[in-house]
Symmetry: C2
Amino acid sequence: MQRILARLYAALLLGAMLSTFPAAHAATAAPIASTPADPLADSDGYDLWLRYRPLPVAGRAHLPAAVVTAGADSPTLQAARAELQRGLAGMTGKPVAIGGGARAGSVVLARGADLPSGLAETNAVRDALRPLGSEGYLVRRVHLNGMPVTLIAANADVGLLYGSFAWLRQLQLGTAADGVALASRPQLPLRVLNHWDNLDRTVERGYAGESIWNFWELPGVVDPRYTDYARANASLGINGTVLNNVNAKAEVLSADFIAKAAAVADVLRPYGMRVYLSVRWSTPLELKETKTADPLDPDVAAWWKRKADEIYKTIPDFGGFLVKANSEGQPGPQDYHRNHAEGANMLARALAPHHGIVMWRAFVYASPDEVKAAKAGGPVHDRAGQAYEQFQPLDGKFDDNVLVQVKNGAIDFQPREPAHPLFGAMPKTPLVMEFQITKEYLGYAMHLAYLGTLFEETLRFDTRAGNRDMTVAQVLEGAQAGKVGGIAGVANIGSSRNWTGSTFDQANWYAFGRLAWDQRLDARAIAREWAMQTFAPDARVVDPVADIMMRSREAVVDYMTPLGLHHLMGTGHHHGPAPWVNNLERADWNPAYYHRAGPDGIGFDRGAKGSDVIKQYAPEVARRFADPATTPSEFLLWFHHLPWTYKMPSGRTLWPELIAHYDRGVDEVAAMEASWQRLRPFVDARRFDDTARRLAQQHREAQWWRDACIAYFQHVSGLPLPADVRAPAQSLQYYESLRFPYAPGRG
Amino acid sequence: MQRILARLYAALLLGAMLSTFPAAHAATAAPIASTPADPLADSDGYDLWLRYRPLPVAGRAHLPAAVVTAGADSPTLQAARAELQRGLAGMTGKPVAIGGGARAGSVVLARGADLPSGLAETNAVRDALRPLGSEGYLVRRVHLNGMPVTLIAANADVGLLYGSFAWLRQLQLGTAADGVALASRPQLPLRVLNHWDNLDRTVERGYAGESIWNFWELPGVVDPRYTDYARANASLGINGTVLNNVNAKAEVLSADFIAKAAAVADVLRPYGMRVYLSVRWSTPLELKETKTADPLDPDVAAWWKRKADEIYKTIPDFGGFLVKANSEGQPGPQDYHRNHAEGANMLARALAPHHGIVMWRAFVYASPDEVKAAKAGGPVHDRAGQAYEQFQPLDGKFDDNVLVQVKNGAIDFQPREPAHPLFGAMPKTPLVMEFQITKEYLGYAMHLAYLGTLFEETLRFDTRAGNRDMTVAQVLEGAQAGKVGGIAGVANIGSSRNWTGSTFDQANWYAFGRLAWDQRLDARAIAREWAMQTFAPDARVVDPVADIMMRSREAVVDYMTPLGLHHLMGTGHHHGPAPWVNNLERADWNPAYYHRAGPDGIGFDRGAKGSDVIKQYAPEVARRFADPATTPSEFLLWFHHLPWTYKMPSGRTLWPELIAHYDRGVDEVAAMEASWQRLRPFVDARRFDDTARRLAQQHREAQWWRDACIAYFQHVSGLPLPADVRAPAQSLQYYESLRFPYAPGRG
């Protein structure tokens, strides 16, 4: 016993030494929690993928003991240096010197314009830097005054920061320091988070506690956590953040609130992040400073111009506005019979002198006229087609500094949707992809659902616009007509200690950021590198963790919305199954509107005899989706209403096939759970236990989804359960009776 | 530079070693964040006063290296051992052995029934234990098998836990291990926190983030933080917690919610803490399980009995119910023309078979009949007298397991109130003191206001009940007729990393807990011991910190509500000054109702010619309060309406005296700020900076209170500002125009 204690003690001593060191030296305000060397020492998850745990002794051999900077200093350079120092000290357990002359093995940070004179490879580095733009970076082994050093070079300061993070990532993955050679630049200049954070610190669709923005105490009190937020985002290359909910309040543009945003912007600036604000269309009217919110009214335009000028006085690099207009009850230009382009352009002109942008959301369903007609009993056109109908005709009508932000699918962040038909259909308009990182429809922070596969699937969707290869990623990159867009993710970040409410939800922030930087990265590769940094670069952990992640989203699809079903969730909170709901004010808020299940069959006919929105896709795609036989089975019931007896490629008919998917979803969660249990020896008790408890709850909820949906579809179809299918545990009435008045994430 | 780095490195190495060690060894689920030895290493405040930082080498000399337990093990004993191990390892930097035979210097934990056979002082220890009850403890140096050891002894397990914490506290204060001799027991058996936490995780009057109770994820996911919550409370002797808001929802008594409460109870149990629930009077009616909520209806009583039985099945040591009935819109027995005793007793009888209790709140203002009359334009009687009027006549009518919970003052947790007249007036009823630890009316978590002085002032208030010495503390202890009550504190705890929103708000939790254990402790002594544990046992820190704390609450009184003024704050959120408000539905919600300022003077006449509630105090006290000349100046305008020209003991008239108080309040904050600035060399950067920013904001807000109130009182009095008095910075209209729609802590 004494010997065990002594050994453990020695190990802890080493570990503590390694881990505590960098935090104490770091120049940033907030120390990342220290991470003991013992791989099984508990982690509370605060340090995310930036754990910088000690490398095996062999891996430390070529790690630099000094960080040297060339050229003038800057806050961004200081941030890069501090991160290198923190990371290297963590991984080597040795102090890291800053400044002084370069020695053999040093890491040298230099802008292209400041390459040190003794560099042997100056011309080659300059050539390599040329195509890397203002955000790209280069990491290579070079010779300085005859000594081998690691050079991190870039055309601008933020590239040096990104390069430092990229290099540290490679080291964390176990790459030998002298073996790293990197050159990368992002394709999309706009890579932003959208916080749906309210001024009262609640977060719409937030499942990780309240907002990290303590708007009440800002600007007087500035939480050191904002610095760690900036570090985490910069490590991925996320370069902007919209602080507040798209369902915005007029007070956001008050002088008091602008001062709060400015205090946040001051923290984020050295990390290359700009601050944006969501604005409410009717702000000047609500503040009683104009008599209308009509975009063509000169007083209104002048008000916005003055307001933009005011903002840029305190936030000189303010990014711009995100606008949700004429959507879900929000006011907008259509209230004045102006179209979205007229609305967006008015705001854009206020921002243009300051180089700000407008991100105008295309998530608008049903125009005011349609709503009026619907209230009078008229039909509402298929919601899946409404954004296209309103926006596609405006292609080419937007000012240069307007980007149209389009959700990945045409309904609303469902577990699976086909890509939005607007991608490829607006070649003259820069589009911003809007992904939802927070899991409004995929089990909150409780279910393990890795979204890397969802993001990848959408980005790789070939729109066939112009009858040629044209993936969604290419559309965003402006491959059609040079209009380069961006990518936005609805944040899953809150004040929860581990940021995202669960360990595995950190991976969704990570995957979003990595794909925002490079839309061609592979979801599995991202999962693996996340697992290596988050747990350990050990195949015994990484392989099973990546495997769990890669199958996880499909499991959710199977137990919630298989075969292209969608929008079956509970009203308002969106928790749990509620396919039976059919009494909501708007027809297209009802699950029954979407699944259309009855004795005759199930699914939404979006073909020529149905809502006909398939034709919004490019002809090649539309042809494929028009025929059930050529429609991928994962979108089958999205596009087609089919009889229960429809013969599936599996040989089964639709009804047992549907049940099989539900069962597979539940079985997959059970398999994920079992897989996780085998990881007990390799994961610290705290994160192991938390994840195990969440998986157990996910299992129960998957079973509930399966049981409730089968009970319901059996009820409306009148079909018997096939032999060997387990009957739902409870009656349909029981599932219908469940209520969740205190579910988190309400708006 | 290299030498400095090396030195710093060596220091860090040592510190990290010392601090990381105990967490890794601790038996509890959640490690308290590690605390580096460097006194200036940043602390995020998570470890509260349980930091266990390394003692100077001299102080470590006699610290045990082993913890030995006698008798059967238990979860509570395990918790005590783990804490001793954590604390000793932290303070000595050496591993601490558990179990095995006692060696010289060991610490020995033993119940009175399990005293080890080789103990020289067995009889003396047994004698000393006899008066210590089931929660008291004894710590003394004894001889075991001839070796000196430290004995922690108690009659029951929880006493061993309390004794362990008490001993560790003494060590943290710098007392030599061989010099500690303790014997203590609490006078009040009921020492509870009241969480005003809602089921949606908002916290009414919470300024430290959302609720620490993640009700949504419970019972599936159990946050390790609950364990640290239990440790912190047990370290003070707090032995119960009411999980949810007194403005309770019917769902609290659903089977789902009881399972959540049970999961929390399982975590708290080893730490001697019982779980209680706030219940809504009309629960069975709202759940549609009875047809009425009339306490005399047999179905209602039977429902509550069944519900109590159900609760005790999963929470066998459930504490009982806290009830807010017929108060601020909550339903209650008066809705059925039954009195509070009839209501409380019905619940008490459901709990009695399980030894549960009812804490029935006396915070009821205006009976339903009065409200009805007021709506018809009738007068509402002085709110300060209403609780007494409704409750005093019921003295002796409550069942044995009912306690009446009385706020410290008769209005509502104002910066200063005279003690509630019910104290001393209900000798036959056990009373529970309700303090508010969260600073609803004292500047949220932004203002530094140490409440130890407020608690002490109330507890020491001599009620003169029975015309003899009878402090409020004695009343609670049952000195009148043997009815022993308790003490409750409305928690200031949230999910903020530092628990309470600011470093100094931790002191209010601490002071509440210490005074709950021993009502005779001195507020300054508590401040000093808190400062030693929270910062360092160093006079250069402790003296100025204690000084800041001791003057802080009086500063708030001066800049908010000097000379007995009260209830001058903003509507709803209670942030900032609003003495002008006079348009609220109920007269007694208006600041103007309370200050009654006009050209003739200011203050509330509660004497015979006024509301006459002074007569609710015992005769000696009432006589003193009836005459302005014998009324303490801090209560002057609480009890008297006086002309502006009233001559104060200072020689000044009331108007300049009032202004002088406002000015003194602001000046005091400036002095506190300056004092804090001088502490920069002694406090870690993170806590130093956070506190400095808060004090700066407090200074601005103190100035705002002073300016707005002076502007208003000048306006209503028509008096000129005395010479040399600085005019308010803004117009009264400006102050009146301020709105705070997103203030935290709404119900």
